[in-house]
């Protein structure tokens, strides 16, 4: 294979660049591949904040590059290769759909480190990382269960994938714990990004009686819809959405990639980088809980903060038995906690949630 020879040569050149760093002469170059535009105000926006944090942390000893709105598939493979050829030492690929391209490119550049977000395929020079957003959902669920008067909680999901299903289950378990009468109405938007549709979905949920809206889509459209309705509680998603605080937005889940990105960049600089699988939550600071506003009663707020602390120090797991699956079959025995494998591929509702997961 001639190509691999050439690429190996290029990779060799890249490793020379790496050698230069070891001597303290060069900058560490970190690349970021984004699936959306930096201006999406959500998923990509937060990753880019992480990139800026890396720049701020290391100043002149680091150089970051990024390419935005890269379609998943061959285009992303080309962009990654281009970054590797351009001398990047570490490349973060920030969407699930980049999984196979990342593995492909990584095999051609053994000396470049890759970090793939939300995937499950690793290699010697490919790590994976993801956030335990469901931990944040537990806190939201707790507040939602307490705050709802109609006992109807609306939930806007993107696509029926394990990540989203996990969030719904976690929120429901903790809402039902404080309010056994609570009912979840779930709308699948079937889009990652369509603010108008998110607004519509929120309005529909409100019209059907929901007075708390949880969203797994990134725009502020549901916040605005709730504000218009006047008495509906929402939570920020991906970013704090503080412009809607203190009401309707009473708290938020914030994607905070900065600590991880800084740590991994540091590892490359120190030569201590290893392929790992990171799944961090509130404890490690990857999942941030936005300030709980005063619209939440003081006792509920105190409970929520206690829950947050318990999750953070590991004394409590968001999926702790006894829990049953939707069909009534046993899942977790009393005190048993869910294993990461089951959580990663979660494709069932827990008992109490009505409706079917679209197949």
């Amino acid at each position: 294979m001639k190509l691999s020879h050439l690429l190996a040569a290029a990779a060799l050149a890249a490793s020379f660049a790496g050698a230069a760093i070891a001597d303290g002469h060069g900058k560490t170059k970190v690349g970021f591949v984004y699936v959306g535009p930096v201006g999406d105000g959500g998923w990509t926006y937060e990753h880019d904040k992480g990139r800026l944090a890396v720049e701020k942390e290391f100043g002149d000893s680091v150089e970051t590059v990024f390419v935005e709105s890269v379609p998943e598939g061959p285009d992303s493979e080309r962009v990654m290769t281009q970054m590797a050829l351009g001398g990047a030492d570490l490349i973060f690929t920030t969407s699930f759909g980049y999984m196979n391209p990342t593995i492909n490119v990584a095999s051609k550049f053994p000396d470049v480190k890759f970090e793939h977000a939300t995937g499950y395929k690793r290699a010697d020079n490919v790590s994976t990382y993801s956030a335990r957003f469901y931990e944040g959902r537990a806190i939201q669920g707790h507040i939602a269960g307490n705050m709802t008067k109609s006992n109807i909680v609306g939930y806007i999901g993107s696509y029926p994938i394990p990540e989203v299903i996990r969030g719904i289950n976690s929120a429901y378990i903790h809402a039902a714990k404080v309010n056994p009468d609570v009912e979840f109405k779930i709308i699948w938007a079937y889009t990652w990004f369509d603010p108008a549709k998110e607004a519509d979905a929120a309005k529909v949920l409100i019209e059907q009686g929901a007075d708390v809206i949880l969203q797994h889509t990134d725009s502020t459209a549901p916040q605005a819809a709730a504000q218009e309705a006047g008495n509906v509680v929402t939570f920020g998603q991906a970013s704090d959405m503080g412009q809607y605080a203190p009401f309707p937005r009473v708290s938020s889940i914030i994607d905070d990639w900065a600590p991880y990105y800084i740590a991994r960049t540091k590892a490359v600089m120190d030569g201590t980088w290893e392929s790992i699988d990171t799944w961090d939550g509130i404890g490690a600071g990857m999942v941030g809980i936005g300030e709980i506003s005063d619209a939440v009663p003081a006792d509920v707020k105190a409970e929520a903060l206690a829950l947050k602390a318990a999750i953070a120090d590991g004394s409590y797991h968001a999926f702790t038995g006894p829990l049953k699956k939707q069909d009534g079959s046993d899942w977790l025995a009393d005190g048993e906690t869910a294993d990461d494998g089951t959580l990663a591929g979660m494709s069932f509702y827990v008992e109490g949630i009505e409706g079917d997961i679209p197949q």
Binding site: K185, Y190, T191, F193, P195, E207, T220, D356
Partner: protein
Amino acid sequence: MDLSAINPILLIAAMIAASTPILLAAIGELVVERAGVLNLGVEGMMITGAVCGFIIAVNTGSPLVGFIAAALGGALLSFLFAFLTQVTLANQVASGLALTLFGLGLSALMGQSYVGIKPPQMVDTQMGFLSDIPIFGPIIFGHNIIIYLGLLIVAGTWATLKFTRAGLVLRAVGENHDAAHALGYKVKRIRTLAILFGGACAGLGGAYISLIRVPQWTEGMTAGVGWIALALVVFASWKPWRVLLGAYLFGGITQVQLNLQAAGVVFPVSSIGITIIIICVIIASWNLIFAKKKSRQYYFWLLFLSIAGVFFTIFFQGATVPFKVEYLAMSPYLMTIIVLVILSADKSRAPGSLGRAFHASQ
């Protein structure tokens, strides 16, 4: 989990609100196409309007000024299209697509520093006691002023096209530009004005999304509405009132879809048949009452379809399938195709010169 969770009054009111951006963009494009020009750049003009309106509204604090800016922004971008197609005689399909690409990029550049900002809020028009009338109150009154503006534009377009000399000239230019030119009408000037009007309307539609419906600015936030508006014009067979009807249908199906999901309704297969029957009946009665006479064959087809619908309904009575969101999301598009086929016996057709370049020396 049942249908009773859905409030029909709120549903209709929501349908009206949701269809406004499509309606505005489509009525503008209708005028453009009636003048014989096919502008596929609606999406680009909408998103430009969305960002212009947002920027100005944030800076002036007035959503209304924002809407004016959006109309201007959309018109300005469409001027580029007018120049390309009317002066340099470039191909309209390609120019329109390029306009969309350009508009998406330009709007993203312009809006870079406006991500995550909340725009000034537009208050709903206060209609006093009118909004309190049961049923009709929430449906007809108590909307945003832009929604009424949209209806006004539809009515104005209809009246202008039908009753005024300007409308006649516009249609003449669209039907046969050579003949219109021979009669001394300035084909290019008229078409340019139509294109600018289309751009302004698309801009308004875009600003409705960024200032009222969502309201926020994010790149690419129109998410394909412009394409639907384009489809709607053909769906409406270039008639203003049908644009209104079609906009409610397009906007409405998404609303119904979301409502059904939230209520957790399972999908009764027989409803497909019932839908077909209802559509046939509506079309037949519409034609019998309002439109000119149709051929016997036309009604035969409607009857045939209705009977097929009845059989379908009986055969699948009681059968339900798990709720498939993808299929419901497809349904507006499939319905458009079905309705198009049914309407095809209708004699209304595209303007004669649609999409063709005009040069006086030809």
